[in-house]
Subunit: 124 residues, 2 copies
């Protein structure tokens, strides 16, 4: 279970993607979160209190914290370029975690990497 | 998949737990990490650059970041009290993620909660 998972490949057949124009908001901090997203094309900027914490590019995840914890959004997500995203509802997320251990591991890695970079940010 | 998972129950039959005396170090920041741990009894203090970032209590996880990312330990783990821990090797972790989706979801939740509390810490 060590190979990197390319989520763009996993979701390339997405029939009903979310399409965002540059500057369009996907969600705001404080919103209820009932889905996470995989960026298929373009870039989405994540900000917390107006500070850019991440730019999510194709293959990247966003919105998974609210879904995993069933809590409001921590960050605001705004398209930096035109972007296309796959929506992973709670039901779909549950299916993926149950049937694709690689997906679960990938989500853990993404969370862990964010935590590590935040630890570095705090201590630098 | 919404119920909280009690890891103490999942590992209560642990036959070969790690036992730490108060003040004993489990691992140090920078160490290679080939296992994560579940606290079964006692408390383990996690520090990053001498700052206490978390006290892990029974049912809590530690060391999962190094295991998930295959990178060195970020934090130092020292027993605050006498403690008993179950060791989850990489092989066991892979088995758990593949066969117990609740376990995978639990690890995601723990990571997400840490990220959220760190976001709050930074912005407060």
């Amino acid at each position: 279970m060590s190979g990197a998972l390319n989520l763009v490949n996993l979701f390339h057949n997405e029939t009903n993607p979310v399409v965002l124009e540059p500057g369009e908001t996907l969600f705001k901090a404080g919103d209820a979160g009932d889905a996470m997203y995989v960026v298929l094309e373009g870039e989405v900027e994540m900000t917390i209190h107006r500070r850019v914490v991440e730019v999510v590019r194709p293959g990247g995840l966003l919105g998974e914290m609210a879904l995993v914890e069933k809590l409001p959004r921590v960050a605001t997500a705004v398209a930096k370029t035109k972007a296309r995203l796959a929506t992973i509802s709670e039901r779909r997320f549950t299916f993926l975690v149950q049937n694709h251990p690689f997906f679960a591991l990938h989500v853990m890695r993404v969370l862990s990497q964010r935590l590590r970079s935040m630890d570095n940010m705090i201590n630098d």
